[in-house]
Amino acid sequence: MSGQHNSGQGEASTGEPKNYLNWDTSIWGWLTTVDHKRIALMYLFSILIFFFVGGLAALIMRTELMHAGGQFLTPQQYNVMFTLHGALMIFLFVVPGIPATMGNFLLPLMIGAKDVAFPKLNLISYYIYVAGALIACFALMNPLDQWADTGWTFYAPYSIESGGSVVLMTFAAFVLGFSSILTGLNFVVTIHKLRAPGMTWDRLPVFVWATYATAVIQTLATPVVGITLLLLIMERLFGVGVFDPKLGGDPVLYEHFFWFYSHPVVYIMVLPAFGVVGEIIPVFSRKPIFGYKAVVYASIAIAAVGFLVWAHHMFVAGISDYSAIYFSVITFGVAIPTAVKVFNWVSTMYKGSIRFTTPMLYAMGFVFLFMIAGTTGIYLAVLAVDVYYHDTYFVVAHFHYTIQGGAVIGLMAALYFWFPKMTGKMYNDTVGKIAWVFVFVGFNLTFLPQFKLGMMGMPRRYFDYLPEFESLHTVSTYGAFLNAFGYTFALVNLLYAWIFSKRKASENPWESLSLEWKTPSPPPHDNFTEPVIVTEWTYGYGTPVEGGKH
């Protein structure tokens, strides 16, 4: 970045073309920016801080679990640690995750708009996120009271009785939900109203479709958890007994309310990653995406069906047999659109000329990991099997395959793919690939043993275990350290390239046909140098007429 405080437009006096990064480099210019690209970067740095802290909490837990018997944490400290890990990773890292960072950056670029529909609202939702994050950190590491120890789900009635930080933490989650709602609302309106001429719905990149489906869930599901958390706060402050059995309330109602949001929220986490992979695979296979419409409808179907399956988290919570059967069957239904997507990605690669770049490796890793995640999800949807697997490490492993193997690997793929566009620099691809090996091997080493542990009956959230679980736990801990090293290595590689790399990225280093690559890297403040008119489908790779009409 050039250090000049120049807020004017047009060409800089240095001759370097003005882009969104060097447009106004003052701190104030960044903090008050309404440019979606800058807000995306501010989100990115914020969420990565919490990824780091949440990761540290995970490593502390894994170190404690490395050997049987208490190591260096008390059981209460262990409870605090998994709450810290879960709450930071879910509310502050993965939920904003891809939508707030890559979605914010790419959505207007991909549809040929100059910004999101409500740029000021976009900035406001960032600051609401920051406020929520500060409250959450205070609650999770409360210097005045017992640290929150309920787990990220705040299940009643324990959350009604546990220490005072729970009120603050639920309030933080409420505030963060508000930020998420505003982002989702902004995206839905942007996609409806700001598509460039010619960017019809059936030409939209699949990432935009995935973000659209995500934004709808963000807008419609989040208010329900908002009111749930408010009721929990009312319960704590005024003794309104909605979830407290002592006052005639029903804790199972809390679980229904909570999962009505928190099941769709896993699709908020993973749908954007589906979109990322759908962008990367065609580019590096040099083939049009296979079954574009199927991919799009699958995204919408997942979003819709995602609203109807929440009680599969509650098969052993005392719901009726009939509703359990209903939720089990509908949950099987989620496998259909998900499998459609996997078939489409694999078919896109089939007979393509594949380039194994770092983003492509992450995308392929995603497909592999998500297949394991989806398949094990089916086990858990089977009523009889779930009785045995519920609340074991099998669930922990399944969940991390979907969320880390899905959302986080998806975010890494996206960062490696769009890094040249975001920064105008190229990174070292070989180092990126080596880091990917650490991430991929480390991840599987951490969580594959946990499937086995769960099958053997190891319960989740336990601070200690029987000796027969020890060897698998030890392997899992080694894997966690390898995994953490891989992420650090991969992110440092990018950071290093941004600051020190001399290799400038061209406008379109991957030879993609998507709109965001038809503007300079990094893009100018207004995204495009000339008005955008779309005449082609996004995925016309390798067809007789390059970019032929769809």
Partner: protein, 221 residues
């Protein structure tokens, strides 16, 4: 923006604001769609409360019936009329500003806000009556008295639902006041009145939620 100053020097007060990323017609559509989506989120927010209410109404039918009798349906009914009338005033405000009658629109908006005030005052009387009978959650009398827990559940939900609604009334009044002051300062004309329209939309939602709260709490109970 410096470049807009020269390019749009014919801009005057009452015209749509110039934004760099879309034309004014798109901005109007976007604002309305945005508000409709926001209203959907509000309905889902209250939806949780309605679901909880219906569930416990079904669980504790007799107690809810008994507790609901202690609410003053005349005052609740009066408030319903006040809010319905305020919605009519909000519609008239939008209509006036569309026709360029700013002064009339300002008066309608202030009258709408006035109705909001009346609603809150009547609500305060009702709250006070419950408070003096010790029926407010968190009070020692509420907890210690020999009320059945199911009976308390009704009042817990009653206060959560109506307080959240009252909070939305206050928000709506603030939004309309902001719009009214801008109307008076001449910011809106028949060419540009988006904030008045979306403010009125929000107010209708506040009204609509009460239309469901009133029968559920005062009549059906």
């Amino acid at each position: 923006m410096s470049h807009s100053d020269s390019a749009h020097s014919d801009w005057k007060l009452g015209d749509p604001p110039i934004v760099h990323h879309m034309d004014s017609h798109t901005a109007y559509d976007a604002a309305r769609l945005g508000m409709w989506l926001f209203l959907a989120t509000e309905i889902l927010l209250f939806g949780g409360l309605f679901a909880a209410y219906l569930f416990y109404h079904w669980m504790y039918f007799a107690e809810f019936h008994h507790a609901s009798k202690s609410l003053n349906w005349q005052l609740g009914g009066l408030n319903t009329i006040v809010l319905l009338f305020s919605s009519y005033l909000a519609v008239m405000a939008v209509d006036s500003v569309k026709l360029g009658k700013s002064e009339k629109a300002y008066k309608y908006l202030m009258a709408t806000i006035g109705c909001g005030f009346i609603f809150l005052i009547i609500k305060a009387f009702e709250y006070h009556a419950k408070y003096s009978h010790g029926l407010f959650p968190g009070m020692d009398t509420f907890n210690s008295e020999a009320h059945q827990v199911e009976y308390k559940m009704f009042f817990g939900l009653y206060f959560c639902m109506t307080a959240l609604h009252a909070f939305h009334v206050i928000l709506g009044m603030g939004l309309l006041l902001w719009a009214a002051l801008k109307v008076r300062a001449g910011h809106f004309s028949s060419k540009y009145y988006t904030p008045v329209e979306v403010g009125a939309l929000y107010w209708h939602l506040v009204d609509l939620i009460w239309i469901y709260l009133f029968p559920l709490l005062y009549l059906v109970g």
